[in-house]
């Protein structure tokens, strides 16, 4: 079904890379949130991901499901705001979908992302087009399912998911928000990129960057 699988250690690495990417993009995310929200999305996500990194210290990734659940629960108790429950649910549902696994095949990953997305939708009740993180995650999950069905290579699948997320993120710019704080602005929310869609794109992008190396020998990997 795929050229390789994602190991538990890869998942740990992905979380670490995502945490440092969030740290690098903290001010950018906050700036996006200042335009149509309350200017805390970067700080919130960074506080959460820093706590996750502390929590995961020494984690091996033998139990991917347990690992992802821990990430989700840490985010729930450290982030607050909308981002906390939403990203918390995303990871908790990804964890539930991968319970007991130590390696993920591409189909497992596609299912996990889809489960996470469904969790976010159940929690936040947003539809695609509402100008939220859903707008980045939905096309990414669809791209993964399609790639899994077409038996594409893992790295191609991850790349297409990241690209779909990026397009979804950019497509939030002209939208008028219908969920979250930005919806209070009405028409004034149009013309700005959604911060949550941006952090979700980064999630898919870091997955592609990290897992694309998954099949290759350690020495050739770029994210170390």
């Amino acid at each position: 079904m795929s050229d390789s699988t994602i190991s538990g250690a890869d998942v740990v690495r992905w979380i670490q890379v995502y945490a440092s990417t969030i740290a690098e993009n903290r001010d950018y995310l906050t700036q996006l949130d200042s335009a149509i929200g309350d200017g805390d999305h970067g700080t919130n996500m960074n506080r959460g991901m820093s706590a996750v990194i502390e929590k995961l210290d020494g984690a091996t990734g033998d139990d991917v499901g347990g690992l992802l659940k821990t990430v989700g629960m840490t985010l729930v108790s450290k982030v607050g705001g909308a981002g906390g429950p939403l990203y918390g649910t995303l990871f908790m549902q990804m964890g539930a979908a991968t319970t007991g696994k130590s390696d993920l095949a591409m189909g497992d990953w596609a299912k996990a992302v889809d489960a996470g997305l469904k969790g976010v939708q159940a929690r936040g009740k947003a539809e695609p087009g509402d100008k939220t993180m859903i707008d980045a995650l939905t096309p990414a999950a669809e791209a993964l399912s399609k790639a899994a069905a077409a038996a594409a290579s893992l790295s191609d699948a991850l790349r297409s998911a990241a690209q779909a997320a990026e397009e979804g993120m950019k497509a939030t710019i002209p939208l008028v928000a219908r969920k979250g704080r930005a919806s209070y602005l009405g028409e004034r929310s149009a013309g700005h990129q959604d911060p949550g869609a941006t952090s979700s794109f980064l999630l898919m992008k870091t997955a592609a960057d990290t897992f694309a190396d998954a099949g290759r020998p350690r020495a050739d990997r770029k994210n170390e």
Partner: protein, 332 residues
């Protein structure tokens, strides 16, 4: 950024330490953060819990005490607190008669309190949540997250606190909270933006001759940006929108709450109150209770909000009941 703080990341914790040192009637817990009245749980009394982002002081921590909240959960600045804080607070004030969560209608607050309520129920505590959504600046429609919870929150905390003190049941207190919310309308405006400690610069830029009408309490931009105008015109627009929405009618008795956003001095709030009385007089609406001051704030934002609550005998009596908190106190 000009603030009397140390490290921006430590503001909430240090302010809570100051609160703990200042008010022996309160117990302050850290990691997770929550504030409870020192005599909690009061056996047989419904516990009232609220919470939200910090930066709105005295709300909510300043409203913990006899006759008002049993506990408050302060989040990071302008960020909803987390379910674990709410769960610990809920457990700490549960005196066997159930716990009411007063939740301001923001996506984050609603979701976090939902999770906390589930956790509380799983621990065998009866929890009811009432969502406050009184901000007429926001349309309540399929196309928004609904109206924001603003000034009515303060009134709901006072009134439900009084009812709980009088040993009303959880169902009664929740019903009362909904009634207060239904009969309240609010709207705010800003002359300046606030600066969150973590961002370090104004959330929005406003020209020297501009104001934002229809703002929330988190430095969100408002419904429209306008040229600065005399207080009379500003209050006419805000009060008019509020009055038309419920609507408040000739002969109604109301509580008028003129709230400062944090950076506006009291003398201006009295000028605003003066304008408001003229408008309500003109409509035949009678102010029988009032509250004037900075009670639900947005850090150092300059501006004000107005909340009107339609009163009846029950609400008036509950308003007059004793309250003993650092932010609101009378009768004791």
């Amino acid at each position: 950024m000009k603030k009397l703080i140390n490290n921006p990341d430590d503001v909430v914790r240090e302010a809570l330490q100051g609160t703990a040192a200042a008010h022996p009637d309160l117990k302050v817990f850290f990691d997770p953060h929550y504030i409870v009245r020192a005599d909690a749980p009061v056996q047989g009394k419904v516990g009232i819990v609220s919470g939200g982002g910090s930066g709105h002081e005295p709300m909510h921590g300043g409203f913990v005490g006899m006759g008002m909240l049993d506990a408050a959960c302060p989040g990071e600045v302008f960020t909803s607190p987390t379910p674990d804080q709410m769960l610990e607070a809920t457990k700490a004030v549960s005196g066997g008669a159930g716990v009411l969560h007063i939740v301001k209608n923001y996506t984050g607050d609603v979701m976090n309190f939902e999770m906390a309520a589930d956790l509380g129920k799983a621990e065998g505590i009866e929890v009811e949540a009432v969502v406050i959504d009184d901000d007429v600046a926001v349309q309540d429609s399929l196309y928004t997250a609904g109206r924001r919870g603003v000034g009515a929150t303060v009134l709901a905390e006072k009134l439900t606190g009084a009812a709980a003190e009088a040993k009303a049941t959880l169902a009664e207190v929740a019903e009362l909270c909904k009634k207060v919310n239904d009969q309240s309308r609010s709207m705010g405006m800003a002359l300046t933006s606030c600066v969150t400690p973590s961002a370090g610069k104004p959330t929005f830029e406003l020209g020297d001759d501009e104001m934002e009408i229809g703002i929330g309490i988190h430095g969100e931009p408002g419904r429209e940006r306008k040229k600065l105008a005399p207080a009379s015109g500003i209050i006419e627009q805000i009060a008019g929108t509020i009055i038309g929405d419920l609507p408040f009618k000739q002969g109604d008795e109301v509580l008028a709450f003129v709230n400062g956003m944090g950076g506006t001095p009291l003398i201006e709030l009295y000028v605003v109150y003066n304008e408001l009385t003229k408008i309500l007089d003109g409509k035949g609406v009678k102010i029988t209770r009032n509250l004037i001051g900075s009670y639900i704030t947005s850090l150092e934002m300059a501006g004000c909000s107005i909340t009107l609550l339609k009163l009846d005998d029950e609400l008036t009596k509950l308003w007059d009941a004793p309250v003993k908190t650092s932010g609101l106190r009378w009768g004791v």
